[in-house]
Symmetry: D2
Subunit: 383 residues, 4 copies
Amino acid sequence: MKANKASVKDLKNAAARRLFLEKELKVKLAAISQMNFTDADVAGHNIENLIGSTQIPLGIAGPIAINYPLISKLYYLPLATTEGALVASISRGAKAITTTGGAIVTLNTVGITRGPVFKTKNITHSHDTQKLIAKNLPKLQVIAKATSSHIKLTKIDINFVGKNLYCRFYFDTTDAMGMNMATFASQEICEAIEKLTGATLISLAGNYDTDKKPSWLNFINGRGKQVWAEITLTKKIVKEILKTTPEKVVQIVQTKQHLGSLMSGSLGMNAHFANIIAAIFIATGQDPAHVVEGSIGITTAEVETNGNLYFSIYLPSLIIGTVGGGTPLPTQTEALKIIGAKDANELARVIGAAVLAGELSLTASLAQGSLAHAHKTLARKKS
Amino acid sequence: MKANKASVKDLKNAAARRLFLEKELKVKLAAISQMNFTDADVAGHNIENLIGSTQIPLGIAGPIAINYPLISKLYYLPLATTEGALVASISRGAKAITTTGGAIVTLNTVGITRGPVFKTKNITHSHDTQKLIAKNLPKLQVIAKATSSHIKLTKIDINFVGKNLYCRFYFDTTDAMGMNMATFASQEICEAIEKLTGATLISLAGNYDTDKKPSWLNFINGRGKQVWAEITLTKKIVKEILKTTPEKVVQIVQTKQHLGSLMSGSLGMNAHFANIIAAIFIATGQDPAHVVEGSIGITTAEVETNGNLYFSIYLPSLIIGTVGGGTPLPTQTEALKIIGAKDANELARVIGAAVLAGELSLTASLAQGSLAHAHKTLARKKS
Amino acid sequence: MKANKASVKDLKNAAARRLFLEKELKVKLAAISQMNFTDADVAGHNIENLIGSTQIPLGIAGPIAINYPLISKLYYLPLATTEGALVASISRGAKAITTTGGAIVTLNTVGITRGPVFKTKNITHSHDTQKLIAKNLPKLQVIAKATSSHIKLTKIDINFVGKNLYCRFYFDTTDAMGMNMATFASQEICEAIEKLTGATLISLAGNYDTDKKPSWLNFINGRGKQVWAEITLTKKIVKEILKTTPEKVVQIVQTKQHLGSLMSGSLGMNAHFANIIAAIFIATGQDPAHVVEGSIGITTAEVETNGNLYFSIYLPSLIIGTVGGGTPLPTQTEALKIIGAKDANELARVIGAAVLAGELSLTASLAQGSLAHAHKTLARKKS
Amino acid sequence: MKANKASVKDLKNAAARRLFLEKELKVKLAAISQMNFTDADVAGHNIENLIGSTQIPLGIAGPIAINYPLISKLYYLPLATTEGALVASISRGAKAITTTGGAIVTLNTVGITRGPVFKTKNITHSHDTQKLIAKNLPKLQVIAKATSSHIKLTKIDINFVGKNLYCRFYFDTTDAMGMNMATFASQEICEAIEKLTGATLISLAGNYDTDKKPSWLNFINGRGKQVWAEITLTKKIVKEILKTTPEKVVQIVQTKQHLGSLMSGSLGMNAHFANIIAAIFIATGQDPAHVVEGSIGITTAEVETNGNLYFSIYLPSLIIGTVGGGTPLPTQTEALKIIGAKDANELARVIGAAVLAGELSLTASLAQGSLAHAHKTLARKKS
């Protein structure tokens, strides 16, 4: 078959591959040909068979204020998206939050996880292995450390069923997302566990991570960073900026985000975390497949005794980094500079605040009954 | 606060906004400034507050063959990603599949869904409303049709708890992803339901859709397109191209994709659907937040009596389109031309085949024990 | 080994088996020996190797009023339990409900389900089989009818993954719980499907039923009977009988039953449906393993504009009957007479009202902060 | 309304209450009147408004052998049930296991849990409270200990969303199931936490326990006792006793218990754990509402290289005790004597072995295609 003779893989660079495809498929790849990085910049460590670049519109939302113990800091939010109304909506939420003095954001670092599965001889062996691994954590931490100065094994969860033993290694990888580092370290740790216990590694990733899949394990134990963000808005601000009332916003959260998620068996007890996280992830060079974990999480809202609106979001498994992955690419580097976060924790806080802003604004639109209208006026301007 | 005086929103175009940010933040936005589309092309319907574009490396995998009843057709796969090894891995799977004669792909169109929630007076009213909506489906279909010639209301699921009644409208939107169309039509349908039943619309989207969140409702009833793809490989091909054995691949699928997902409470009973779907979605202008639904699904594998490897994937809720959204953008249009799908169904089949290729290849790497190695050699070339 | 020579199975009746055990184990089985049924009454169709009976304390709660369109009817609730405070708690809820005029209860009969799994040749065969079964529903309904005059096949859900095709047959079995009838009918239907489609039956029960396991499929599509019950209580009744306020009850429902269930990934979005259902099921001869489906379901509560408390419960999969199973046994027959339900629907309504009463009362206790106290005073009287 | 004048509650004993009901409802309660316990034995701590007893047929299965490091011990299994074929099926599994030398059973004691929810001032307060509780575990352990010499607080899990903070207290209650003890201790612990942190207790039970509801939290972290049991059977035993082959049994487990549970979103990845657990729980005086947690769990099976069948079950949250609750009742005490377990751990092992036997036998019936037949011949003997 044709596939067997010619191959883009054998061609030496993006230009040659484009030429091959343009001839082979009778298409023009003029737009794709424009790159502000070279083959050498990305070949291998970011991508193979490079043919050019995909360009996604980049918008700016904000500024949004985050309240730190002593100071309040303003951030602009770079958002790569093609969904009309999203940037405007996040900006509206940011305005309500910032006018009120800024979002409060707090976080726990759970760490990136890798979840290998081992084969044992029987449940007695599984049980002994469970105890033996727990007992040897310090030794395994030394082995992990030896693979990179940037990684630290912090914890191991272990469970088993029959002859199948599942581990969940938790790693602190400072400012890197760290999945690759964690994979290399896990390889060494698993070999040590095999020697130590006589169990046999079946798969370095056994879905007990759980990487790029939505799972209750991620939700309950967390993954990457657990981020919480909140704001309390006066009735007046809710009316003037969000065009609705605290009572209506709370009704939406209880009926849609909570009851609606229970009725549909959803792990995303929110309105649209995924939209905001996808737009920031793409803009800043995060892995867009990690939007899957990012989309799980809960929104809460309350009318306070003084009539104010309390609104909060919780992200149990935010997987991000400020170094490595797609972050060194030209547009991604500039986007990170726009945010100006000094480390992964600050970036996580900004993403938490952005999610708070976007969730608040859409929930208000639903309360106001203007969702269809908003999309009609904005998303359809052109047609 | 500073936020209140200056605003990027008031500036007239991307250039002005960049200039504002460069001054305000003391950054250079040279890379972001490069756009192969104009403000007018995207402003409003795709994005607000445009400042430029984000560039993501685009690689090419394949060709991959899909077997249609009479012909076998070859496709190249455009993949926008920054994860090293992904394009190479999909290409390897594509080679195994194509060498073997091509993937078989089949699908059902469930349709895009919108899931509003209504408030009723009591459970008797909820129950009556459930029956009344069902009885008036034809009337509501006429109302939906009136909102656009491209949309058709095909079905309504209804359930309730207390005074909260949840509907799930299913729409056929031909080659458009159709979420916006569905939202406009749902607005009209909901107003008709209010008149018809006396129930009050609380939220046009009640998480009973479930849009951009992983839910059992999406998994069990499907959303967008349900896509199945399969391939049967000889022992020889598995050994030569995938460097492992059918038995080992089956063991990974049973221990990781199935048991591992049960142990972690995962809705993604697969290895990495999200990686492949994110890369194709971004390249072809799909909504990257829909990767969330795309990441749910199941992989199966069997050793056949003759020793061959049977391998299949199932995507219960693939949300895609070949028109609208980000598809008209220059690089996205070229990427769609590279695939050359004549409609959304053909694009869905190609994505199904791509997921089959990527899932097969990674599962084989895990079986072979080469995951860490693969990332080390590819993803670390640069450092 | 000793096990191989002697066996209780070979002994002719309960008395002989008790004698064997008393000798073999040096125990006295005086209490177990008391039975108000004979070997012949139960041997085979209810149990094998009978040795006697287990006695469980039976208490009475109520009366509880249910409001039917024209009349209000009072019911006493027989409850077999060993959990102190349960009967008292349900009685307290019943008093609040009855004093207020009675519960409103409504239901849908989904029907008992059986979910076989078939093996197909490939996904094309799976897809064709899915369509073929749907097309032949009328023919399969005739086949089902032929197995018993008491059973009717009403619907079939079909889904597949790879070569595995899952069906969900829905049956109307009037006043019988009907699992056995459904199993016999399913056997015939499956043989017809094998002939019709060329698919091979792997298992008559493929967990797509889902019988006696908690599943989202049961929750979303329902099983047996979907039952909803509600009551609206004045502030005064809530204070005098339940010792708390509508606001506090609503806070518990939102924080425990809803948010708490989201936080723990629970399919039981309620306080203790399982307690009430287990007690009535055991008293009336239902299958106690069906408490598993009974424990899934949602409680809702609202403070109405006039300050009243609206409280409701929803049981998506209540599996019950008034004939067959354990219902003909002496104490179970008398318990059913105490309730006085003329058919399975009326029994389902009474169970719905009982669950409403028990859930209301415990939720109020939690709101009042008296849970520990209630158990201490009641459950510890003796010690 | 009639309900307001007369009340069974005011009557002094079971006889008087029966008399009242017989008159009021024109029924005879002769069978219910038979009790081998007195009002005083159960009134208050086990039940209120006693009217008599419910009698359930009690059958005997086994003996079943459990292999301990040095000895193999035989157990008879008392099973209270009205489901024909159940006792016979468990006996068949027990025979296969015992003939082969006995089941291997292992366990972890996770402990009974109580999961209160607190209200905080904001997420900063939630976060501080999370740390403060963790820091004060030793102090809280002393407080727990003071409530009973039989209880020990072993661990606390803490998570929060917005102003809602969820704790999960783990208790070791030795041989008692311990839910009441845990509730009393939790009350004291919660009052201490309120003083310590300024958070306000909303509900002593916040569904973060999760008690008598199926939840992923119970599945992932375990509750009560985690029990694993396994057996390896020769091809010959599988054929002679179970009438099928290892290959067919493994196919059922993979297609029904694993894939079927993934397809239906089930937390019970097994065939019928609930049947066996309900029958033993009722016979031995356990709380039948705890069958809900008992029904979650996983079955695994493998064909070993020598052609033998490996079969295992895992119960993540088995809630049982040998003292307290319904265990002191006459028939329940005798049933516990039949088992002859010296403590809760031994009882847990016997239940694990019983579940292994019942699951093995039903899975074999499904493999053999005899499910419908078995029920027809046994369950229908009478009709």
